[in-house]
Amino acid sequence: MNKELIICDLHVSIDGSPILKGVNLDIKPGEVHALMGPNGSGKSTLSSVLMGHPAYEVTKGSITFGGEDLLDLAPEERARLGMFLAFQYPVAIPGVNVSKFLKSAADAIHPDGKVNATDFLKDLRANMAYLEMDAAFANRGLNEGFSGGEKKRMEILQMLTLKPHLAIMDETDSGLDIDALRVVSKGVNKLMDEPFSLLVITHYERILEYLKPKFLHILMDGRVVLSGGPELVKQLEEKGYDWVKEAAAKQQSAAV
């Protein structure tokens, strides 16, 4: 199935104040896109809205995934279509055992409503080893007392378990040390063996060196103001967002 994500003229408000003001983005299967932008530009709002967070109101525009209108679907239904969001700040769910939670999620995602328990455990152990995680994590409360780095690894472990068609990573690299970043990237790259598309939201160039996006977009004040290839990263690092504003203005006037 062609799992293409198409975001068209998306307007989003929270508590009546507009955050996204006409976002357009198209991610085809197998593509890796990066989304950058200054704080407050709406990056995290976009990721929450893609996954269906009930606090946000879509006032205009559309999002489709593989031809399905996502705006009609609950978060769990989007997950079952193969979408995944790696959270910037994963919440703790005290007392909910990691392996039991992952099994419930894997069952819920699986078309038959159930995965084979033996295979599941085998995969879980293998994935944890691959992410260099202590096996004891499987029996801890979900994100309960986890460090920032442990939480991010847990997000990637979930991603490996659920094998989504499209993953959105919301600043997964923020606060990670070099080793953790390497492990996280290794985990994501493992998914690339299968048809898999990715939207990486980040402030930093470093993770992009690992994940090698072909497309880069810059979000400012609720709009994608500039899109390009990997070369944009270098320019951004050197010249900052003020340059983007000018470049965006030029691109726009050229289009007119």
């Binding site: 996954m51 978060p75 769990e76």
Partner: protein, 476 residues
Amino acid sequence: MAKLETDSKLVQDYAFGFTTEIEDDQIPMGLNEDIIRMISDKKNEPDWMRAFRLKAFRHWLTMTEPKWAFLDYPEIDFQDICYYSAPRKPGEGDDVDPELARTFERLGIPMNERDRLSGVAVDVVFDSVSVGTTHQELLEEKGIIFCSFSEAIQEHPDLVQQYMGMVVPYKDNYYAALNAAVFTDGSFCFIPKGVKCPVELSTYFRINAENTGQFERTLVICEEDAYCSYIEGCTAPARDTNQLHAAVVELVTLDRAEIKYSTVQNWFAGDEEGKGGIYNFVTKRGLCRGAHSKISWTQVEVGSAITWKYPSCILEGDHSTGEFYSVAFTNNRMQADTGTKMIHVGKNTSSTIISKGISAGKSDNSYRGLVQILPSADHAKNYSACDSMLVGPDCSANTFPYIESENDTAVVAHEATTSSISEDQLFYLRSRGISEEDAASLVVKGFCKEVFKKLPMEFSVEAVKLLELKLEGSIG
């Protein structure tokens, strides 16, 4: 009186709400000295027992109903209750009345020895009387006494006289005095010196008859170095009138003995508008009389229209330990005021209180607890954690912790949190494909996990299922 309309979802969900058609032996309604003598006659009691009842009744007449709890209910008319109701011919063991056997089969409690639950000895109390106790041979071999309270009065009068009222005197409180006057049955357990009870001891309480109160009394004694784990379960038919349940439970541990007491209380809670349901006024208290002894209360309270219940420990022996683990779930118009008292008397005594309250619907759920350190309790320690979770905007949660320390060497720590079931937690789980209802259920079960893991294994599975059932329809 009419049974509740069965189209109410709540009543449908309450799988235990059926009535057993059985011929009852009932005494007239009302409460006076003649009624008490009548109960005593029915049970063919010795004079000392009758005297105890009458003394308690006369004292009760001088008392007034306590009003300090965070509960709101109409005045109870104690003359409008029947204080004794028993199946006319219950039968015993394999000869038990087939209608009764069917009832308990439906409740999942096989009564005959052939189908008995492995690892659990059960005493079954139906309305005012015990209708059978399983596993007798195995227990007798070990010298363990596990029988109905009525039987204990007849067969073990010395033990009953020695211990009854030791922990909860008849003067203790309004409902304890009432219970002492009119109690009809209950369970009696005695574990002699050095014996570790090899099976779970369990009592299943069932209220069936209408307009009947259930007043049971349970007494568990563990002598030196003895151990037992005791489980209590309760259900009642769904009726549109309120019924009164006022029990007394007394536990005594001597040196190095341990009692683990677990309850799953699932009395009928009334319908969505708060019509019907059990008024549950219970006094439960344990006395750690011996040094290094331990009493642990675990309760899962998911039923009753009104719950007024504070399982407590008096830590008299040096180095004795008291524990209280509680999950109290309220929904619709249910009201619960529950908690514990830990009274530290001996040196180096320690207590732990873990309370989890979950309120949904339009219910009120209060934790009320007292930690008291007496001057003699050098180096006493207490840790209390009381967490409340609100499900929905129309419910309330309250915490009333009282700490009274009269000894400077004591260490008392109290933590309390109140949280709503959070949108972010639900979103997180839902984004992994888990439905909203399952996500809420996961969060609540996780919240209660610390308490559930204290329950005996099979019981814990049951408690989780029960809570899931109760949560259905209260989310979203």
